[in-house]
């Protein structure tokens, strides 16, 4: 079946961003996912985030692996180059793309199967390298596309559609990321766009690897009673650690009382303000982020928000001191040492 394009006639006068583009300009092909699939809501949140940040569509590179979740790169920003690679390897491919062109705004979309089983090696090492990208895990606790097997994020005793309990302990991508020294660790819920969009925006503005785990219920195989990744279960158990807002540098923040907020200045100059709901939660303190996550989990809660951010760690390019311009735009003349140098360096071969 060919992909379906969306009708482009705007029904209402649409808001424009600073590039003069509307949210429609950031949409993609029509989704072919099941109606009500959490992944589609995340697509909408990504569209909103890049629209609000006014990122030129052609400067976005969107990459994914294989799975229902990974299909969604086709459903946002049609003006961006997309790369739907193979199962589990998106992080590696994205690392290469980012290596070649550091100016691209790299967005990776993956599933919990794609990221936490077959691709966990690449995810962990992309975190270690601090590749400058937004990495979204659309986390439904199952392999949607292969019809509902448990994924590595399924909770113990969460049940499948057929009622079997999951026996193995889950990998919590947030705890995993924190343990690896990730520089941006956040969780959102596909059912809470207001909370998710600022997280995605902050992740995009973060100079380094921004991991956003989004609980995204699978209508077909994970939204039943007994599943801990259903809409109902997530709504009942979520605990917000923050109420994030990404503000322009000069924007007035009067409506947020100073004493209950933490602000993080992003490399882009923008300021991320987090109104932390648990009083005193400090997203720049890694040890307490760990403790908080473990403590809430023990209480059966699903904490949501920006758990940890560190803007001071160099990304893969800074670490390797590459030139500021994209490697793809370095002219060949500068790359080739020339015949003279070849002649000279062969002195050591005689």
């Amino acid at each position: 079946m060919a992909s379906i394009t969306k009708p482009l006639i705007p029904l209402v006068r649409l808001e424009k961003n600073s590039l003069g583009l509307t949210v429609r300009d950031y949409e993609g092909a029509m989704s072919t996912l099941c109606a009500g699939c959490g992944h589609d809501s995340i697509t909408a949140a990504i569209v909103r985030a890049v629209f609000e940040l006014a990122i030129p569509p052609h400067m976005i590179a969107k990459l994914s692996g294989i799975g229902c979740s990974s299909k969604t790169t086709a459903y946002f920003v049609r003006g961006a180059h997309g790369f739907n690679g193979v199962h589990g390897r998106m992080a590696a491919i994205a690392t290469g793309a980012n290596a070649a062109n550091r100016q691209l705004r790299t967005i990776g979309v993956s599933g919990d199967g794609d990221s936490l089983s077959i691709g966990v090696g690449h995810l962990t090492h992309a975190i270690r390298r601090n590749v400058n990208m937004l990495y979204v895990i659309e986390n439904n606790g199952v392999y949607g596309l292969t019809k509902g097997q448990f994924s590595a994020s399924a909770d113990v005793n969460s049940t499948s559609k057929r009622g079997e309990p999951n026996l193995l302990p889950p990998i919590d991508p947030m705890v995993l990321a924190l343990s690896l020294g990730a520089t941006f660790v956040a969780r959102g819920f596909s059912g809470d766009k207001e909370h998710l969009v600022p997280l995605l925006k902050a992740g995009l503005e973060h100079e380094g690897f921004a991991l956003v785990d989004v609980i995204s219920p699978c209508i077909q195989f994970g939204d039943h009673e007994g599943s801990t990744k259903s809409y109902a279960f997530t709504r009942e158990h979520e605990t917000l650690v923050d109420d994030p807002v990404l503000l322009g540098e000069d924007e007035i923040i009067a409506h947020l009382p100073e004493d209950t907020t933490t602000s993080v200045r992003m490399h882009s100059g923008e300021v991320l303000r987090l109104r932390s709901l648990p009083a005193g939660y400090d997203p720049t303190d890694r040890a307490s982020a760990f403790a908080y996550l473990e403590e809430r989990k023990a209480q059966g809660e699903i904490p949501m928000g920006l758990f940890y951010v560190n803007e001071s760690v160099p990304d893969v390019h800074e670490l390797n001191e590459t030139v500021p311009e994209p490697l793809v735009s370095v002219p060949y003349e500068r790359l080739c040492p020339g015949a003279g140098a070849l002649e000279e360096l062969q002195q050591r071969f005689v």
Partner: protein, 619 residues
């Protein structure tokens, strides 16, 4: 200490032979012998004599047997020899085997600090005892030095025995240790100790001896992995991703140091202590595994960089799925496979040409790749550059099949040349202007004469945006499960692959008058084949030789097969992989293709080829 020189039996072959000898040095790995062996090899090279050095080493860091073979030959036949004129026995563990490999009438040098077991004495071999341990214990105080200097000491004895130019050896030591006077002195002393001992105790030089000649003007001594790295540098590769694996590791080690030297730009700023600040024009990523390495290469190439990875068999196996992605989604990639002995982990430090079939069809589904077969380090350089041009021209992975023998041994090859007029072939990439002029861009439509379609790069223009996928797609780039639309694309891919045959490096043809049979080979077996064909030619059997350098096969390959009654396919694997590929891809009658195979992990020797052909003709 007594000398062990025995009177030679009258029937011994002790005629003087100049510039034609093979020596083998049996060592313990990790004992520092490599530099002594290299020293000898390099000195012979500087004397202007054709020479080869082959390191037969274990997959181990310290303590196991290791050998180094040097063959000097005035006519340029430097393939691996199978028996040796002089054996330097520095490893008691292997004495028995080493003695056995000395040719009748040959010599065995050993450390006479300890007596030789009489069981090892062969009447047709001359034993040359040099009390290396005693000499070094007397002249060096540090324990480590006493061990290390034994190597240079035996080298000194070999220099005297073969009449290698001692001034050349001495100046090589000076060059190596120009920054360290103390080490320089020690090495020079050790050299003298061995040299003087040999001069005063044996009849130096031996009948097998070396004399300066002039065969190496304009030549260099270099290993293939260094040359490959240079090729990647000159081709303009900016992104490299890899996972360490013998015998390919030195490709990236060399690329890294070359980039450090040639690919950093001063920023104009200085650091806190006034040091010049640099920024790099490259990014080398040590990946978490080979799946990641090829993924990074595909990502970087997709974004428009020249990117490559280097690996060996196990890594190539892991890369399969993504090589298929590169093929189907039409993404350039350069993969250097320095082949080693398989299957599985196999013998990591031994050579083979056993990845041919894997490389040709790597990945599931109908997949075919472009292959290049360098035969020596000079070709590693040339074909590395060619690999990038082909990968971008045809928007597909190119696998360069080198092997351990080429990659890790030093070969005498013509000086590498570079033409400053070279312009990289970046293939059909639409820039912003071209896109502006275009109505609508469709990724897989609009093929050229070679069935190549135009691509676009991210970050250039919204008009060029498309969705790259390894899933079924039609020529517009859209997802498809429709049989006709799917087939239309894969049929073009088959045509594109076939069209590449005309762009691959031409095979190298060597003909002899009256030849009705031929030999086909690739890569490192070339010197053995050429020597064998000289031997056969001298004995009245003219044989033609075609060395293939690329897959898909150029039309000249089929023509060669058709033009000969019988063709021997010489290769370093058990299953006759090149023969299989020739059979499948050219449609030639398999009955006329005979195999000459060696797959024990060591480089091919001329005798194996000649014997294989002779046996094949008799059967």
């Amino acid at each position: 200490m007594t000398t062990d020189t025995r009177p030679a039996p009258a029937d011994r072959d002790h005629a003087v032979r100049v510039n034609d000898c093979a020596l083998k040095l049996a060592n313990v790995n990790g004992s520092g012998s490599a530099s002594a062996n290299m020293l000898l090899m390099k000195a012979i090279f500087r004397m202007g004599i054709p020479v080869s050095g082959k390191n037969l080493f274990p997959s181990n860091i310290q303590g196991l047997p290791t050998w180094y073979e040097i063959r000097a030959n005035r006519t340029g036949h430097t393939a691996r020899a199978l028996d040796y004129d002089l054996m330097v026995m520095m490893n008691m563990q292997t004495y028995a085997d080493d003695v056995r490999e000395v040719r009748s009438g040959g010599y065995a040098l050993y450390d006479s600090t300890w007596p030789l077991d009489p069981a090892l004495v062969r009447p047709d071999v001359t034993y040359l005892g040099v009390p290396l341990t005693t000499l070094c214990a007397e002249h060096f105080s540090a324990a480590r030095e006493q061990v290390l200097m034994k190597n240079i000491c035996y080298a000194g004895a070999v220099v005297a025995l073969l009449s290698i130019d001692v001034d050349i050896v001495s100046s090589l030591l000076d060059e190596t240790f120009h920054r360290n006077a103390r080490l320089r002195e020690s090495n020079q002393l050790a050299l003298r100790l061995g040299y003087d001992y040999a001069c005063s105790h044996f009849d130096c030089p031996l009948p097998i001896r070396l004399e300066p000649m002039d065969a190496n003007a304009g030549k260099i001594l270099v290993d293939g992995n260094t040359a490959t790295a240079l090729g990647c540098l000159y081709a303009g590769a900016t992104v490299a991703a890899w996972y360490p694996i013998t015998p390919s590791t030195s490709v990236m080690d060399n690329f890294t140091s070359l980039c450090h030297r040639y690919r950093r730009e001063p920023t104009g700023e200085t650091g806190p202590d006034g040091e010049v600040q640099y920024r790099s024009d490259h990014l080398i990523l040590q990946a978490e595994d080979e799946l990641a390495a090829i993924g990074m290469v595909l990502g970087a190439s997709w974004a428009g960089a020249r990117a490559f990875t280097s690996t060996s068999g196990p890594g190539l196996s892991l890369m399969n799925e993504m090589l298929g992605l590169g093929y189907y989604a039409e993404i350039p990639a350069v993969v250097v496979d320095v082949q080693r002995t398989g299957p599985s982990t196999g013998m990591p430090t031994r050579t083979q040409q056993a990845d041919i079939v894997l490389a040709a069809y790597a990945s599931h589904g109908d997949t075919k790749h472009l292959l290049l077969f360098p035969a020596n380090p000079a070709e590693c350089f040339e074909l590395a550059v060619e690999a990038f041009d082909l990968a971008e021209r045809f928007q597909t992975p190119v696998i360069v099949l080198s092997d351990l023998d080429i990659g890790m041994n030093d070969w005498v090859v013509p000086r590498l040349r570079w033409d400053d007029a070279y312009v990289p072939d970046r293939g059909r990439v639409l820039d912003k202007e071209a896109l502006e002029q275009l109505g609508t861009f469709f990724r897989y439509a609009g093929e050229d004469a070679d069935h190549v379609v135009a691509r676009t790069l991210p970050g250039v223009s919204e008009k060029g945006a498309y969705f790259t996928r390894g899933s079924g797609h039609d020529k517009l780039g859209g997802y498809t499960e429709a049989p006709d639309d799917y087939q239309e694309v894969v049929d073009r891919l088959a045509r594109k692959h076939a069209a590449a045959a005309l762009h691959m490096p031409a095979p190298v043809l060597e003909t002899r008058d009256g030849a009705t049979i031929g030999v086909v080979a690739v890569g490192s077996t070339e010197p053995a084949v050429r020597e064998a064909l000289d031997l056969l030619g001298d004995s009245g059997l003219p044989v033609d030789f075609l060395r293939i350098r690329g897959f898909p096969f150029a039309p000249a390959v089929r023509e060669f097969l058709d033009a000969h009654e019988l063709v021997f396919v010489v290769e370093l694997n058990r299953d006759a992989q090149l023969r299989a590929l020739l059979t499948v891809e050219t449609g030639v009658d398999p009955a006329k293709l005979r195999s000459v195979l060696a797959y024990g992990g060591l480089p091919m020797s001329a005798r194996q080829v000649a014997d294989g052909i002779t046996a094949g003709l008799e059967s």
